[in-house]
Symmetry: C2
Subunit: 488 residues, 2 copies
Amino acid sequence: MSAEDVATRLPLVGTIATSGFTTAYPKVIPVAYARRLAEAKASGQRCAVNLYTGASTGEELDGELARSGALRKRLPFQSTPDLRNRINAGEIEFIDMHLSHVAPYIEHGILDPIDAAIIEAVDVTDDGRIYLSTSSGMSPTFISYASEVYIELNTSQPVELKGFHDIFLPELPPHGRPIHINHVDDRIGVPYVRCDPAKIKGIVVTDVREKTPEFKAADDTSRAIGEHVLDFILHEIAKGRLPKNYLPFQAGVGNVANAALSCLAQDSRFGRIRMYTEVLQDSVFDLIDADKLDCASTSALTFSAAGVERFHRDIDDLRARFIIRPQEISNNPEVIRRMGIIAMNTALEADIYGNVNSTHVLGTQMMNGIGGSGDFARNAYVTIFMAPSIAKKGAISTIVPMVSHVDHNEHSTQILVTEQGLADLRGLCPRARAEVVIRKCAHPMYRDALMEYHERALAIAPGKHTPHDLARAFEWHLRLREKGTMQG
Amino acid sequence: MSAEDVATRLPLVGTIATSGFTTAYPKVIPVAYARRLAEAKASGQRCAVNLYTGASTGEELDGELARSGALRKRLPFQSTPDLRNRINAGEIEFIDMHLSHVAPYIEHGILDPIDAAIIEAVDVTDDGRIYLSTSSGMSPTFISYASEVYIELNTSQPVELKGFHDIFLPELPPHGRPIHINHVDDRIGVPYVRCDPAKIKGIVVTDVREKTPEFKAADDTSRAIGEHVLDFILHEIAKGRLPKNYLPFQAGVGNVANAALSCLAQDSRFGRIRMYTEVLQDSVFDLIDADKLDCASTSALTFSAAGVERFHRDIDDLRARFIIRPQEISNNPEVIRRMGIIAMNTALEADIYGNVNSTHVLGTQMMNGIGGSGDFARNAYVTIFMAPSIAKKGAISTIVPMVSHVDHNEHSTQILVTEQGLADLRGLCPRARAEVVIRKCAHPMYRDALMEYHERALAIAPGKHTPHDLARAFEWHLRLREKGTMQG
């Protein structure tokens, strides 16, 4: 079947769910579908499409559908410029969800039902076993709940991906049972998604390659952040507060988290680690090259062009090291709390009391979404948030009096790190937190101003438990908007 | 041993951990201890005591120790006026924690080690089996980690409490294993806490009765809130989104939650339910009288004087209905997510986007603490927050443009209810959330002003995803402080 054939069978008004947690999204059907939607719209037909995915996708899907003007609702995460712009223009409804909530919302029937699932795969058998490509994400649940399933069989993805996946979906309440994953490398499922063959309405073969992200080489700032994190982990081991062979690491998507892991690979004080995360990036190869990776559980692989090449070359060796799981499992509170994860995620801004904003610029503009950070932060053994202390050459302090949006609150943030230093907030009251955050994490150019805010707040606030001066809590954000800088 | 004997053995500078999750706290040793601390302080000795408990306690413990002037640090929850005042005066450090975090913080060695645990019990055997009174809370963990253990054997508590408890503590990472509770009434432990007899340094016998709280009879407002919640649950069952025999209910402490359960007891449309919660209040008897309770799992019992009398009278029947668990289990993310809980907790204020403040008056003054609400809200099947739409005869709108503190954010709040109505926020983007919250939940006297804020924010905000006017986001709170009312 051609992509255009499938596109004609997809609804003008309805709900589409696709594979894709970073790169493994369908790449030709969506382009044809977007073209059809744009034409239908131009001819005056009503078009309104909801798009569900595992997490972020790319231009051929989010970009094309956003530009078609037919996208109405999008969940649970995105990171494509044209889609982001339309969300922030108020044209597209974006539901910014904890990734672990997507499956229950679909299974419980909270969201609109799925008309069609479009899934990238490397193989499909006659009896309906679908072998996914480089992510599992929401695909097993989408396949199970969609009325129709379309497969994009991508021949640029190695068929040797068979065997990486461990597909297991937990039972729903009231039939819930324990998920028997006690260790990162426990496999409890099968390597394919089972689907009623009658539901598979079309298969499109393509060899379109994924667009690969580039990771910036670690700069001094991200290296300094990484070093602080590593020193902290060694300190915790020395204190007997972490096992000698560590606990599994989770690292958020992006350059800072990638750099932290690369630092770990280069650090002779560290031995072999395990990862239990939602996305593996190029840094995993640094770990392997330094003989520092036992095994890694993830929901997706996102490599640079060089990383993809390396992955294809070593794929038979890597099958014993990597496990790709549905996000119901990779982000599951039960498994995360049981194993005890060292969670490292990125903050857009943090305030002096440890509240973290990881989604909203100036409290109003969506960046990408909360993604899985809340699933990990809320249930980890140690919850670490990382950010450079300043942005835009110092016009922005990422440490502010009060964050303009809260994604992770003071109760969940345990460790806050910038290139300036690391603040251990566990067991501290808000006043003590403020002192350590300002002293350890703030950039020197903003330190006095933050301390001044804290002291003024302490003097005038009706409650001294969490001192704030509500009349001036957002003064810095307002100044940034008016004058282009937070500096007074 | 006398309470005074024990008091002389307790440290002037150190850490005390006690039983107590609501009422089951020690009642005579702390009074003697507070007297000793006050005297030592008066004679110029340095006194600085950290106090850890399960959750709230009462006057004989929190009140006395706060007034002694020797309390330095308190966690994880409190609700006693003199203690609260000193916390808000900045004199005592209060660590406001998710209740499910207390055990890991102690086990991992994050908090100062416990010098002495003081535990209310109904029996102790020669071989060190301690039978707890009306709560389990943190007691098993405190007993295990404290250097010394003192028992307050309270003869006013019925020895028939033996058998109510199910004491099981999960293994720590990296040795975590599944917790095999699939149903509310699954018992996986033993009815006592095992303790090395050599560690039990003293037993004080007392017959001091607990001070019982009074629950206000449901007023029109809390009844209306309860009715909206019940209508919603029936609606969800009709839609096939909740099982016909419901899912287990969790209800926060206080009059509103108590009233919601009482409404359920009186409502002929409802059958028998199960509860999986952290505190059982008098409303559980309404459920029993209406033959609407299958079984109830809790970490504590908190009854009025009449409720206590009833409990003592029927104790042999109730043993088959009630299970008292450690808070590591009652508040465990694994068990909560697996069973699928209907979580009903109270908000102090909520904003138009669904962020909830449940702790801080005007963003700065601590009320009681987050308690277990985050443990339940973050992992429940349905997360409901309830509040009257106005307070202080309308001087305060509990629905505000932006909450002054965030305990539960937009990602976790699914249902918001006031006496005005119920807003189902699931699957809605922030703009759509604002409209439904204003229309359904806000009091008519504040509805126009909220819509005006939302529309102005939409017009001027740099991002239309979550429109805010940061310059005026706290205008209502500031007006309340200056003029005593939020009304413009």
